[in-house]
Amino acid sequence: MLALKLAYRNLMGARLRTWLNVFVLSLAFVVLIWFKGVINGWDDQARRDTIAWQIGGGQYWQENYDPYDPFTIDESHGIISGKIQTAINAGKMTPILIGQATMYPEGRIQSISLRGVDPNQHIIDLPTQYLQSEDGEIPAIIGTRTAKNNKLSVGDFVTIRWRDVNGTFDANEVKITYIFKTDVPVMDLGIVWIPLEQHQEMTRMPNEATILTTSKEDGFIGDFPGWNFKDHYFLLSEIRNMIEMKSIGGSIYFIVLMSLAMLAIFDTQVLSIFRRQKEIGTHIALGMTQRQVVTLFTVEGAMHSVLAAILAAIYGVPLLWLQAVVGWSMPAGTDDFGLTIAETIYPSYSLALVFGTTAIVLITTTVVSYLPARRISKMEPTDAIRGKIQ
């Protein structure tokens, strides 16, 4: 196409101005793809880790259980029926009993969530194998965040006080047998994990549980009276919302960069049409219609985005690829905010992301180029040839 060829010549001829515009635009490309890639990577990782560590294929919640209402926790326990037990024995799910307790590390008082989990379970990544009891002590595992907050190390004993089903207080010492590291803070912050049977015994709730976490492969395996199934959509909604917020936040960088680039291109176009009137007139004298000149100038402006895509590919591909391989290290302490985030995020870029970005940039650039170029069709060719300022 002739307009493409001529537009390319014009752009290449304009050199520095062209490359400045193209560079800013290419930054918009790379930043958007990179940011979206990081967000996607984070989303993937957060989902993966949450599924692996916490929710498996979904959870059955005892009907009173509401994680946002600590006052209901004492009522949120139900009998593990025979049917449920069969599913547990078949490795389709694992029960967890949740209760409130108080921990006294080094004489301080710390409110905790005491959770009983089956030491032999393989449904979630929680390293419950460290909960095998030895010499009559109560083994407990905690996450690195809880360990740090309470200055606890492996081998430490810490006193825990809880109430049984009748409201009677009791206390005992647990021994920290393992400190695990997880990217899922809700499995760590303020939680002490102990063997399920021990917990049932302590609270006098034999054969009871609060939630039943199903295996990734199984998920929903039928209705159990008194238990409500919570699927991934529900259980991951918090992550989804957080990722969405981050996405919007990140889009602002893109919008700023895009606006910058669009402003530069719009300005270039307006200036071009003003300064290059003689050129416009000459094109008309040489046999172009005004409409063809409008097209030429529009293509010329829009071509910035094509060059930007190429430039972005040249420096962006190795950069983004490197990021995807080495990952992007989160600043130290990010995980203390309670976000489900790994120390290193591996961005994941999709074809849809790359093509979507390219399409957005191309369309925007074309529109921004066309708007000022329309003026050309209103010019008098004879005035344009003389470069008469209108």
Partner: protein, 233 residues
């Protein structure tokens, strides 16, 4: 086209809107221009030379009257048709050269051929030939900014001539040139006129140009006041 006339102008009037009224730039022009002429529209500044040339070049339209160029009635052409006429049959040379600053010499001369959608090899051949006509073969890679005024005008002659148009319209082509360069480009155009039978129409008030003309059409105040053939020995 009757009797080998390329251009026939009858009772042409051109008014420009000015404020609430209009300004009459051309009044009752009647002219015919034939093949191979080397004619000039001569007259003082503001006499209507450029206006007439632009109408013949289909860049502007008559207010009244009939202007026929190569069988086409200028007033009735649509944008596409008038662009086609210019593209195929008309060459333009401007006082200010109007070269594209970001194109090199070769690309400037090549542009009309690109618009004609000509093959690459053919374009190269024709551009080479046109550059030879004006003696600029060794400047093909230069940009206009690196050329003298005389060289620029030669490039613009090459650009006008490269497609071997029927008619070349040259508006004050020497106005920005010194005497030596003026003579040089006039001799070039005279030679092309003789060899290729291209019709040249100048708009000028430069005596250096006038002395080369074979026909001098004098304009004053938008009217033709004199039209004389100049016999060269």
């Amino acid at each position: 086209m009757k009797n080998g006339q390329l251009i026939t102008i009858k009772e042409l009037v051109k008014d420009y809107p000015v404020g609430k009224g209009y300004f009459r730039a051309l009044e009752d022009i009647n002219l015919t221009i034939g093949e191979g002429e080397f004619a000039g529209l001569v007259g003082p500044s503001g006499s209507g030379k450029t206006t007439l040339l632009n109408i013949v070049g289909s860049l502007d339209v008559p207010t009244k009257g009939e202007v026929n160029v190569l069988g086409q009635s200028i007033g009735s052409l649509n944008a596409r048709q008038s662009a086609n006429l210019r593209n195929h049959s008309l060459g333009f040379i401007f006082q200010t050269y109007n070269l594209l600053p970001v194109y090199n010499v070769f690309e400037n001369v090549e542009l009309p051929l690109l618009l004609l959608k000509m093959e690459k090899d053919k374009r190269r051949e024709l551009v080479d030939q046109a550059l030879e006509w004006v003696g600029l073969q060794d400047k093909r890679k230069s940009r206009p900014a690196q050329l003298s005024g005389g060289e620029c005008q030669r490039v613009s002659i090459a650009r006008a001539m490269v497609k071997s148009p029927k008619i070349v319209l040259a508006d004050e082509p020497t106005a920005n040139l010194d005497a030596k360069n003026s003579h040089n480009i006039l001799q070039t155009m005279e030679k092309l006129n003789q060899e290729l039978k291209t019709t040249f129409i100048f708009a000028t008030h430069d005596d250096k140009v006038i002395q080369y003309l074979h026909r001098k059409i004098s304009l004053d105040d938008g009217r033709v006041v004199n039209d004389e053939q100049i016999i060269k020995e």
